[in-house]
Symmetry: none
Subunit: 218 residues, 2 copies
DNA sequence: CCCACACTCACACAATGATGTGACTTACAA
DNA sequence: TTGTAAGTCACATCATTGTGTGAGTGTGGG
């Protein structure tokens, strides 16, 4: 049986806090764990209210949502925290992400979307607006086109196809997944894997993966 | 007057390539710049076909989509590249992001969503599935709230026993072997491994081994 | 005292993987 | 031409892994 998702709100604007509370309280499957106007007491709030998801306004008097986020994550890393903001401001996005935010939405997000976001974050997703997603990607350091990329045939004597299959094994693919991905039959996958085992002198997927990773066969 | 968005497809699976081509060719506002089975000639492909958006299969024989992506970005950083993959739990997400991917979708994405994604990326967004978005966030270095706080609990909060079992998995041990080696029952091994899977967010031995080795959980 | 959690074990069923055997096509080189 | 190797597919059978459910013990903290 599924337990309700307990949601805790941090939002300094009284009106918005009230309407968010109403929205959540009136939604089946959700439960309002609390609705607070500041996050100066996050640690105790969390242990007292035991939320599954926190909606955190990023701009609050006293302590910023970012700092609140850090504190939450330091005591309860498992709690999902979705940041709410008015502007898609780049610096704060970066700070929030680094502090461990699980999502990043605009306050103007329509209520329905907000509920979707809660489900999404519970399901292991990371709700964010497209524009923010793009910013996040840009925050990554670009790796220059790797000089002297060695064309490199297989260090072991694996055929191209076998190497390909091995790579997928290393990625955690099952036989079925490999068959689907490569558009070949399950038996063909078996066939390739049998050969790979012979060549690598192993007799299970785990051994193959381990050997591949350790010997840089990837 | 809006110009059509020119889309170039890299996908080694002939069937999928054909259906994608059809889909795009039949959509107003889009224009199929090309549909290729490998990305060994990206530089010339790009200058010849001049796409605005590239849909790039991440697993292709010969040269991976990641490398293709790098090359595209090195000659034409302005081109938006959306990576396509079959399964999302994939550490190559990181490589792709670092190489400059502008989006990351599953191949099973319904056609309509795919078209949406193309619009989105053109509009400056970053289309990706929720699960991938979450992975991306996790790739960020966490700023520890306590300065220089590496008192070091388990890197992935695995218990001692769990860590021990994981090590054996990495060594290629089967359930039976682990049970024998540690002098515990097969069911107990199952039990530990179930917990390990939960904590590492994986669903198979291979995934666990791969994650362990790549994240230095050994 | 009670709760959370690590660790242990059991049973059952479904899903996947491992292995053997055989076969057909294509490509390439002896 | 013939042999070898890659790549494809099929079928059968057994072993192993994955998952759900439940439960007993011990330890440490609130």
């Amino acid at each position: 049986m599924e337990k309700n998702t307990r949601v805790l709100i941090y939002e300094d604007n009284t009106d918005l806090r009230a309407s968010l509370s109403q929205l959540l309280a009136g939604t089946p499957g959700l439960e309002l764990a609390g609705a607070l106007g500041n996050c100066t007491q996050t640690e105790t709030d969390i242990s007292r209210l035991r939320p599954d998801v926190v909606l955190m306004d990023i701009d609050m008097p006293g302590m910023t949502g970012i700092e609140g986020l850090r504190r939450i994550k330091s005591v309860s890393p498992g709690v999902s925290v979705v940041m709410l903001t008015v502007f898609e401001d780049n610096d704060r996005v970066f700070d929030a992400i680094c502090a461990g935010a699980d999502g990043y939405l605009l306050k103007k997000t329509p209520p329905v979307k907000l509920l979707d976001a809660i489900s999404e974050v519970r399901a292991g997703g990371a709700p964010m607006t497209p524009a923010i997603a793009r910013q996040v990607l840009k925050l990554f350091p670009r790796t220059p086109p790797k000089a002297a990329a060695p064309p490199e045939d297989s260090p072991a004597n694996l055929s191209a196809r076998e190497q390909e299959v091995l790579n997928l094994l290393v990625e955690g693919y099952s036989y079925k997944m490999i068959a689907a991905d490569r558009g070949i039959s399950l038996d063909t996958v078996r066939s390739h894997i049998k050969k790979i085992y012979e060549k690598l002198h192993v007799r299970s997927m785990t051994e193959a993966v381990s050997k591949a990773l350790r010997q840089g066969l990837t």
